[in-house]
């Protein structure tokens, strides 16, 4: 079954078309990357899919639920790690995680277990009693991601998850993402081409809101006629400009 089915999704901001007639399907358990230069429309796409902003045209179905009509059902399926770090600054790391558990209505046993699991997973143990607002950028980022993972979503949206992480944390995060592969449908955006190539099942490249190509990394390289993915990306994006 398709976890996500996008049909002619468009978003206009005044004269600007941020996303232009996007159509694609993402399978359950797939790890899917959205690539594109700054302003291509990746974040806007994720915002529409997570019911944060209404599409101007078109619709998308998450496990069969429309993002326009069945928003309540969609919200029980998804979790989002926004491009900007999204934490409650006045609360400690533990309290932030408790907040998310409470919102999803976890029992106290499950709450404790989940918090333990995620602090271990994202290496947040030493800072667990610290105020989120006092953490370094990278640690805030880790917390922000932990807050998305804690709700056990069916579909996980990660908007530039590795932004601001150090090399070790980045590699750890990719291990975590790899471990979720197959269990959770993941849509992520990144500007690190090698990450997308190494990990994602399929990759979509966007430019000016339009979908240029959507395929496996190997096929994208074949289409561009190069064996370097970054070069293939550059060629496809530049080629579309002409």
């Amino acid at each position: 079954m398709d976890a996500i089915k996008i049909e002619g999704l468009s978003k206009r901001y005044g004269d600007l078309i941020a996303v232009d007639g996007l159509s694609l399907c993402i399978k359950e358990g797939e790890l899917f990357a959205l690539l594109g230069v700054n302003g291509a429309g990746k974040t806007t796409t994720i915002k529409m899919l997570s019911c944060l902003t209404a599409p101007t045209q078109g619709d998308a179905y998450l496990h069969g639920n429309s993002i326009c009509k069945d928003t309540a059902a969609v919200k029980t399926l998804i979790a989002v790690s926004p491009q900007e770090t999204a934490v409650a600054r006045g609360l400690s790391v533990r309290e932030n995680l408790q907040l998310m558990c409470g919102i999803y209505g976890f029992e106290s046993d499950k709450k404790t277990a989940k918090i333990k699991e995620l602090t271990a997973l994202l290496d947040l143990k030493e800072v667990i009693e610290k105020k989120a607002g006092k953490l370094s950028g990278g640690y805030q980022r880790r917390l922000s991601i932990a807050m998305a993972l804690i709700s056990e979503p069916k579909i996980l949206f990660l908007d530039e998850p590795t932004l601001g992480l150090d090399v070790l944390a980045r590699s750890d995060l990719w291990d975590i993402i790899r471990s979720l592969k197959g269990k959770v449908t993941i849509v992520l955006t990144t500007h690190y081409m090698e990450e997308a190539e190494a990990l994602c099942d399929r990759i979509a490249i966007m430019k000016d809101g339009k979908l240029l190509i959507c395929d496996t990394a190997a096929n994208i390289k074949a289409v561009a006629g190069t064996d370097n993915f970054e070069q293939a990306f550059v060629q496809i994006v530049k080629g579309a400009g002409k």
């Binding site: 999204a86 006045g90 609360l91 409470g102 807050m147």
Partner: protein
């Protein structure tokens, strides 16, 4: 429960802000002490404690507006709200979650205010309890104003509009600092068309124990609270739908 978890978080954010204690509790108390000191030297009827303390109690609530507006405006700019909009929290959860935790602060503030008033000579009667209870509907008005401002302004603008403009408006137009009858004219008309002076007169009537005199003031307060709450809900939903911060 989802809403209570969110309300709990909001209460924590407010209580951990040191400005809360200073403005929420300290400032009104300083005012009441100051004006009573003036009254002790140059007796003015207006600053007589049974007359003054209701005014200060209501004035203190304008800080509740500041707290709720700041909280929402900050949340909107920090993209935390964006995250929460993607969770099963409903619009009603958000509105209650922002409103309810501030009510205990408002009640605590009025209790402190009347306690100091008692020390300064306010007669201890059961009416004081009534005055604290009537603070609740009045505080809903002030919190709704905050919800409204926080939904349309960013956190810097909130400081100016709620922190400076509203606190002054609610002070000048409330009949606490000077008798509106003495000024009269358009100024008095404007004051009586707004809810602040009604809130103060409502509290004064309760403190006096003349419960018949709470009307029509109570209607003014409830009417304005309902309108403010409705406008706040609509504006909050509008910014939620727009889906982008600031």
């Amino acid at each position: 429960m989802r809403m209570l978890t969110f309300a709990n978080r909001n209460a924590k954010e407010i209580i951990r802000d040191p400005l809360t204690l200073f403005f929420g509790l300290g400032f009104p108390l300083v005012l009441i002490l100051l004006l009573s000191a003036i009254q002790a030297n140059i007796p003015v009827d207006l600053f007589e404690i049974a007359h003054l303390s209701p005014g200060i109690a209501v004035f203190g609530l304008s800080f509740m507006t500041l707290f709720s507006a700041t909280l929402i405006a900050r949340d909107r700019s920090s993209s935390l709200l964006q995250r929460l909009y993607t969770t099963p929290l409903t619009p009603l959860d958000f509105i209650l979650g922002y409103t309810l935790p501030i009510i205990p602060f408002a009640v605590a503030q009025s209790i402190c205010c009347y306690l100091v008033a008692i020390i300064l000579g306010l007669e201890v009667t059961v009416n004081i309890l009534g005055a604290v209870l009537f603070i609740i509907p009045i505080s809903v008005l002030f919190i709704a104003l905050g919800l409204l401002c926080g939904s349309v302004l960013n956190d810097k603008q909130v400081g100016g509009i709620c922190g400076a403009l509203l606190t002054n408006l609610s002070a000048w137009l409330s009949g606490t600092w000077f008798d509106l009858e003495l000024v009269g004219g358009v100024f008095r008309k404007i004051a009586y068309a707004l809810p602040f002076v009604h809130a103060v007169e409502l509290e004064r009537a309760v403190i006096r124990g003349s419960y018949a005199d709470i009307f029509p003031h109570l209607w003014w307060v409830l009417g304005y609270a309902a309108v403010a709450l409705l406008a706040a809900v609509l504006l909050f939903l509008r910014q939620m739908k727009k889906g982008n911060a600031t």
